[in-house]
C-alpha cells in the first residue's frame, strides 16, 4: 500500500514537472534552456512512438494468434492476417538486405506490394463510403423527422448535386462549404481547444488518474 502511494506520488510529480517544462519550453525561444529541454522531450516521444509500433505489431499478432488457437468466430481471417503480417516483415527484411537479382535488382517489393494491395483496397472502401452516407441520411429521416435531420439531408442532397459535372447548385454548394461549414468547423475546433485547455489544467493539477494505480 505504501509503495503504491510512493509510486503514485512519483508519477504525479513527474507528470506535473514535465508538463510545466513543456509549457515553459514551448512558450520560450528555441535556443533557450527550456526550449532545448522541450525539444529534447518531444524527440524522446518520437523515439518511443517508433518503438511502440513494434509493440503494436506484436499485439496484433498476439490477438490474432489467440483467436486462431481458440478457434473463435472468424478465425480464418486471423490466419490471413498472420500470414500477411509475417510475409510483409520477411519481404521488408529481404528488401533491406538487397537480396533481389535479375529484373528485380534494386526493387523495393514491399513498397510496391503496399501500393498495389493496400492503396487499392482502401480506395475501394473509400468509394463505398458515399453509399454508406447516402443510406445513413435516408435512415436518419426514416427514424425521426426533426428540423436538424431535414437540414442534414437537404445539405447532403445540395452538396451531392453541386458536385455533379452539370454544375447544378454549385454556387449554393460553394457557399455552404465556405460559410456554414467553415463556421461549424471553427466552432468545433474552439470547443475542442477549450476542452483541451481544461483537461490540461486537470493534468497539471495532478488530478488525472490515467498514470496512477
Amino acid at each position: 500500500m505504501r509503495s503504491h502511494r510512493l509510486v503514485n506520488f512519483l508519477a504525479t510529480v513527474t507528470v506535473i514537472s514535465i508538463g510545466l517544462v513543456m509549457i515553459i519550453g514551448l512558450l520560450s525561444d528555441q535556443d533557450t534552456v527550456p526550449g532545448i529541454m522541450a525539444a529534447f522531450l518531444l524527440s524522446l516521444v518520437t523515439v518511443i512512438a517508433a518503438v511502440a509500433v513494434v509493440v503494436g505489431v506484436l499485439n496484433l499478432i498476439a490477438v490474432h494468434l489467440g483467436r486462431f488457437t481458440r478457434a473463435e468466430r472468424g478465425w480464418p481471417y486471423s490466419i490471413v492476417v498472420l500470414v500477411v503480417a509475417i510475409g510483409v516483415i520477411v519481404l521488408r527484411i529481404l528488401d533491406r538486405a538487397d537480396i533481389w537479382t535479375g529484373d528485380l535488382e534494386g526493387e523495393r517489393i514491399s513498397a510496391r506490394l503496399f501500393e498495389a494491395v493496400q492503396v487499392s483496397i482502401e480506395s475501394a472502401l473509400a468509394a463505398l463510403l458515399l453509399f454508406f452516407l447516402a443510406f445513413a441520411a435516408f435512415r436518419l429521416m426514416r427514424r425521426q423527422v426533426t428540423v436538424w435531420n431535414v437540414l442534414f439531408s437537404v445539405t447532403v442532397v445540395v452538396v451531392l448535386l453541386g458536385s455533379d459535372p452539370l454544375n447544378l447548385l454549385s454556387d449554393t454548394r460553394d457557399w455552404l462549404v465556405e460559410v456554414p461549414v467553415n463556421a461549424g468547423t471553427r466552432g468545433l475546433l474552439i470547443g475542442v481547444g477549450l476542452g483541451t485547455v481544461t483537461a490540461g489544467v486537470r493534468v497539471l493539477l495532478g488530478q488525472d488518474r490515467s498514470y496512477r494505480d
Binding site: E122, F152, G195
Partner: protein, 246 residues
C-alpha cells in the same frame, strides 16, 4: 494580443476557474444539462453486463505524444469509468485503436478497472487491440468493425478522432444490430456520427464526460471552467466583430 499571451491568459483563467469552482461546488450542488449520450452509456454498460456480451470502445486515431494527447486521456477516463461497471463480467470490454503509443494506456485503463473491482482474473491484456493505420484509417475501421462483430459486441462506443472511416464502423454496427454511440473531434467524423449514431457526442461534450459519470469535484470544476472560457471566447468574438463593424 500575441499567441503566447492568449495561451497564458487561457491557462491562468482555466486554472483559477477550476480551483475556484471546485471550492464553490463543495457548498452548492451542480445541476448539469442533459446530454443523452451520457444517459445511454451507463445503461449500455449495464445491458452488456446483464446479457454477458462485450462492449466495444474505439479510440480511432487519437494518440498520445502529439496533438490529440489530452482528448485521448479524456477518452481513456470515460472508458475507465464505464469499464469499472463492466469489470464485474467475464466478458472483457474490447478497446481498439490505431496509435501504438496509446496501446499501453488502453491496456492500463482496463487493468485499473479490473483491479478496482478486484476481478483481475477476468482481465485480458489482449482485450486492447491495435490495428495499423492506412492512408484514411480504413484499415483500422475494417479491422475494428470485424473484430467487434466477431466478438458479438452489443454496442460500439467511438470516442476520439475519426474521419470518414467512421461511416464504415457505423455501417457495420447497423448490420450487426449493435448500438452506436459516437464522437469525433474532426468535422467529417462528427457529421457522419450525427447521421449514423444512435447517440452522438458533439465536439467538447466528450470533455464533460468525467463530470457526468461518477464525478469528483475537480471534474465538475473543470466543466465550469470550460463554460467560463466558452463565454469569454464568445464575448471576445462579439467585441472584435463590433469593433471591426464600427
Amino acid at each position: 494580443m500575441e499567441n503566447v499571451e492568449v495561451i497564458i491568459v487561457l491557462l491562468v483563467t482555466a486554472l483559477a476557474a477550476t480551483l475556484g469552482a471546485r471550492t464553490l461546488l463543495r457548498r452548492i450542488p451542480l445541476v448539469l444539462r442533459q446530454i443523452p449520450a451520457f444517459d445511454v452509456l451507463p445503461a449500455a454498460a449495464a445491458d452488456a453486463v446483464e446479457s454477458s456480451y462485450r462492449l466495444h470502445f474505439a479510440l480511432g486515431s487519437s494518440g498520445l505524444g502529439f496533438g490529440g494527447s489530452l482528448s485521448t486521456l479524456v477518452s481513456a477516463e470515460v472508458i475507465y469509468r464505464l469499464a469499472q461497471r463492466l469489470a464485474v463480467s467475464r466478458q472483457s470490454p474490447l478497446i481498439t485503436l490505431n496509435d501504438a503509443l496509446t496501446l499501453p494506456l488502453a491496456q492500463d485503463t482496463l487493468r485499473r478497472a479490473y483491479e478496482y473491482r478486484q476481478t483481475m482474473e477476468y482481465y485480458r491484456a489482449h482485450a486492447a487491440a491495435w490495428f495499423p493505420q492506412g492512408q484514411r484509417s480504413l484499415a483500422f475501421a475494417a479491422g475494428a468493425a470485424s473484430l467487434s462483430a466477431d466478438l458479438d459486441a452489443v454496442g460500439n462506443v467511438l470516442l476520439g478522432r475519426f474521419g470518414t472511416e467512421l461511416a464504415f464502423l457505423g455501417e457495420s454496427a447497423m448490420r450487426h444490430d449493435q448500438t452506436l454511440i459516437a464522437h469525433s473531434d474532426l468535422i467529417e467524423g462528427q457529421a457522419i456520427a450525427f447521421a449514423q449514431a444512435d447517440q452522438v457526442l458533439l465536439g467538447e461534450e466528450l470533455y464533460a464526460g468525467p463530470a457526468y459519470m461518477n464525478p469528483r469535484k475537480v471534474d465538475e470544476g473543470s466543466l465550469l471552467a470550460t463554460e467560463l472560457l466558452r463565454w469569454l471566447v464568445i464575448f471576445g468574438i462579439l467585441v472584435t466583430a463590433l469593433e471591426a463593424a464600427l
